[in-house]
Symmetry: C2
Subunit: 534 residues, 2 copies
């Protein structure tokens, strides 16, 4: 029996690779819906076509049980899953692959690997399951290193301990979403953190990148679910105390949460978990007007209703997902609870939506359009492969903004993105938007765009579009990322966005915890040279 292997160049398992026909169907559908024209088909790379550079370091005997230098392991740890990652993979460019890929089983293993890294002057790249869309795990580390070691956490994937009374669980960082949910299920518990990458991302990755999950309100980020952390740094192991709440100095965990592997490798966490929800209601509310839809979500939040789901999807994104004919925008509302019915909450929410002009079917009845959209959401990363095969650029970017600025902000960002696509590709692109998470003081707009490309110029074209969109986000008051993280790709904007003195503070921490600056160089803390796009 062979184990399913992940594609070395894209989303999912090898047996989930699209055929040319699959891809054609996807691109034809897009063409019908948007008018965007495909280029000729380019098949995904196969490992035999790839020329990997020879590993620059040999593996010492004492570590041979932890380290691989096979072509598959090195190639599959070269890229994340961003658009430029696909383009370079399809171009068979794996020149910046890591020299070694390691699979530690304990904190001690990691400390040994860090020591080895120091001996051979290697950069160290922490790796969950490689779902980064921001260059977070790519060995683009500058030229001061003699080698690159990627540390893949997949073997540290257990639910180690469950405290049913406190609803908390100690989980290893390398656990994939489905693995940790399986481990919790036996006790009737669930983390209920379901990022789009759920199947192919790990707890440690979520924490390192401040992942955005299932809950649209109340617990939008993984941050709030972390009770304590164990982090391995070149200086040793840092372990925070398990506490429900504390006022003893700045939070140790919040320094590590979002550090994206630049300060240490998260190896385990006590996580706040939930009972399986027994009561659930979901509804789809239709709006003619984006502003009214946004205001309806704002009013839910400010009324303290805390829906588990409150997602706006614009009419164009609905049309692309097959939800409707583009004749209305949709807000998906959901409530769930482990102990008690949520009908009253749902009724109040629907009243509230109705006050803002929202229209819905039978109150509280599950609307199939929500399922259609959900399936489109989950399959999107798979389908992207087909679009890219046919030369269609497909990318997303996300941000957050306070309610007072939302309306102008949304219009402005959409316009800038449409304009730059037209300038760069000579053809109108297709830009849609949803709001993924909501707060009392604002929301998180998430943009998806499609554009035609000129073969061989995809990266340049993408860079221009990405740059214009990023600049627009920042100058309109948004963040360069709400939950996709910074990685290497967002560094130019991140450096402008974060307070300069905070950047210096992180650098000071890095110098202390990682004095040789080996951990994920170029991420969060910039390399000496200016940060730039791939």
């Amino acid at each position: 029996m062979t184990q399913r292997r992940l594609k070395f160049w894209g989303w999912g398992y090898e047996d989930q690779t699209l055929t040319e026909d699959d891809s054609l169907m996807i691109v034809k559908r897009l063409n019908k819906l948007t008018g965007l024209q495909p280029n000729s088909y380019l098949s995904p790379p196969s490992l035999s076509e790839i020329n990997l550079p020879k590993p620059r370091s040999s593996v010492p005997n004492r570590l041979s049980h932890l380290v691989s230098q096979t072509d598959y392991d090195r190639a599959s740890h070269t890229y994340g899953k961003s658009y430029p990652d696909y383009i370079r993979a399809f171009a068979k460019d794996f020149s910046c692959c890591p020299d070694s890929v390691c699979f530690p089983e304990t904190n001690e293993n990691i400390l040994e690997l860090l020591e080895w890294g120091s001996e051979i002057n290697a950069a160290i790249i922490p790796f969950g399951c490689g779902s980064s869309v921001v260059g977070g795990i790519e060995p683009r580390v500058g030229d001061k290193f003699s080698s690159v070691i990627t540390i893949d956490m997949r073997k540290m994937n257990q639910v180690l301990e469950i405290d049913k009374t406190s609803r908390a669980a100690r989980i290893q960082a390398g656990a994939l979403g489905p693995q940790l949910e399986a481990g919790l299920k036996k006790s009737g518990l669930t983390l209920r953190h379901f990022p789009q990458s759920f199947e192919f991302s790990t707890l440690g990755g979520w924490i390192a990148t401040r992942s955005g999950g299932h809950f649209a309100t109340l617990y939008p980020h993984i941050d709030e679910l972390v009770e304590s952390l164990v982090t391995v740094t070149p200086k040793g192991v840092m372990e925070s105390r398990r506490l429900p709440g504390s006022g003893a100095g700045p939070s140790p965990d919040r320094l590590i949460i979002g550090s994206e592997g630049s300060l240490g490798l998260i190896t385990e966490a006590w996580m706040r978990v939930h009972s399986k929800p027994e009561f659930r209601k979901s509804a789809v509310v239709r709006f003619k007007n984006i502003e009214a839809a946004g205001q309806s979500i704002r009013s839910l939040l400010q009324a303290g209703l805390w829906p588990s789901n409150a997602r706006f999807v614009d009419s164009e994104e609905c049309r692309l997902a097959g939800v409707n004919k583009g004749d209305y925008h949709m807000v998906v509302i959901g409530f769930e609870n482990s102990e008690q019915p949520v009908d009253t909450l749902m009724n109040k929410a629907l009243e509230c939506m109705e006050d803002h002009g929202g229209v819905f079917g039978i109150a509280g009845e599950r609307d199939k359009t929500a399922d259609i959209w959900r399936n489109a959401f989950i399959s999107a990363p798979f389908k992207r492969e087909g679009l890219i095969s046919y030369g269609i650029m497909h990318d997303t970017f996300e941000t957050s903004i306070t309610w007072d600025k939302l309306s102008d902000f949304h219009e402005n960002i959409k316009l800038v993105t449409e304009q730059v696509i037209k300038e760069v590709t000579g053809k109108p692109g297709h830009v849609t938007c949803r709001f993924t998470h909501a707060y009392t003081d604002g929301t998180a707009p998430y943009f998806t765009f499609h554009a035609e490309t000129k073969p061989g110029q995809e990266l340049e074209q993408w860079r221009e579009i990405k740059t214009a969109a990023g600049d627009a986000l920042l100058s309109a008051g948004g963040t360069i990322t709400h939950h996709h993280a910074v990685g290497r790709d967002h560094m130019p904007w991140y450096e402008r966005q974060r307070p300069q003195l905070f950047g210096g503070s992180l650098k000071a921490v890095k110098n202390y915890l990682d004095p040789e600056s080996r951990l994920n160089p170029g991420v969060i803390i910039p390399l000496d040279k200016e940060s730039s796009l791939p």
Copy 2:
């Protein structure tokens, strides 16, 4: 018309000083309830009796409009409001007073003052309104400084801007609780952060110390209410971006929140505010059994009911507050909402409490016992003065613990504290407990104790009790503080509690932001010598 002046030695305004008769009444009542015997009366200090050391530095002309060296200003910025603070004030020991007290009006003023501090080798103590009970603002700064400058933020006390749409307000850090609530009220808004010190503490102090507020669940700490911060450091001004949520690197704000003036002076913040609650319900539920009461609160939290209030008070604390005869423990439950009735939530909560053996009056009707307890809670800091005048030791300490450990933890801490009081004072003391805040994974026990003292030995006796209690908290898995902060008094335990590598990380940040180590020396980042109690 003269302005009310704050006592230079204790809680409240000068006109709120207790007479000998007031104090006698308070101590007699305590004696009747607990059997604790008073010593002979000691009157509070008057300014004319205090010998302050001569200021070690003169004020340069360019700063004279910002700086005071009057006896009143220097004496009133010497201590916080802890038990050892009172003891030393009553002993007329103000030897460690600051040399200068400054009242800046702008960030630029603060930068000038920091520069002056550097010129004269001064320690800088950021000061809100001096409500610290942990030595947070006391000039106990080691011997490497030639002067101490206290920066009192009271003149930066305005609500500068209100964004009604996003429910957020930009507020200066020196605003006292009542000042900022008055500024928000005009717009129908409220921060609803009501620590016990509300009247005599500032927004900046709350943020710097991770203050615990009105909301027992959901937003227990001020942390969650902060949208963005402006902080003045010796390196310059650090300003974070106003964002409802972000995943761009570790949170810049969370590094400053809880830094207790050791990294910079918080000068303003965008805060998440609320509409005034229109619908409110509160109830008192009686329990015979502490464990059942705790479990009932746990079940509320884990059912996602999010009461705004869910406080357990043990029977002895009820008796002392005049709530009852000590015949039952009490849980105060409250719900509030600006938009919709909370009756359903309250009924569900009461059902839930009943399932755990809780008994209550008319469902949802306001029970007067809650008001009695609330009044006792607010007047407690005033009454302490009377007890201390008569030689009764009165102090509190608080912590947090996960639900799985609560029962043993509570018993153990209470026992240790009772034992050490008996050992140290030769007489049984009186130890009570309430749980102030609740989380899905645990709660925050808050202990109050009373003990007899031997005149002249109060500090030594307190130190022994504090040490035993602190040691017990830590070894039983708690935190040395849930919302009172670290200050100088908790440093010995804080250094044991926080991950050692996190301590080093904070020191690295301090070296960067405050390279001459002038800001609140000895707080959060230890002085070179070992930390110890006053």
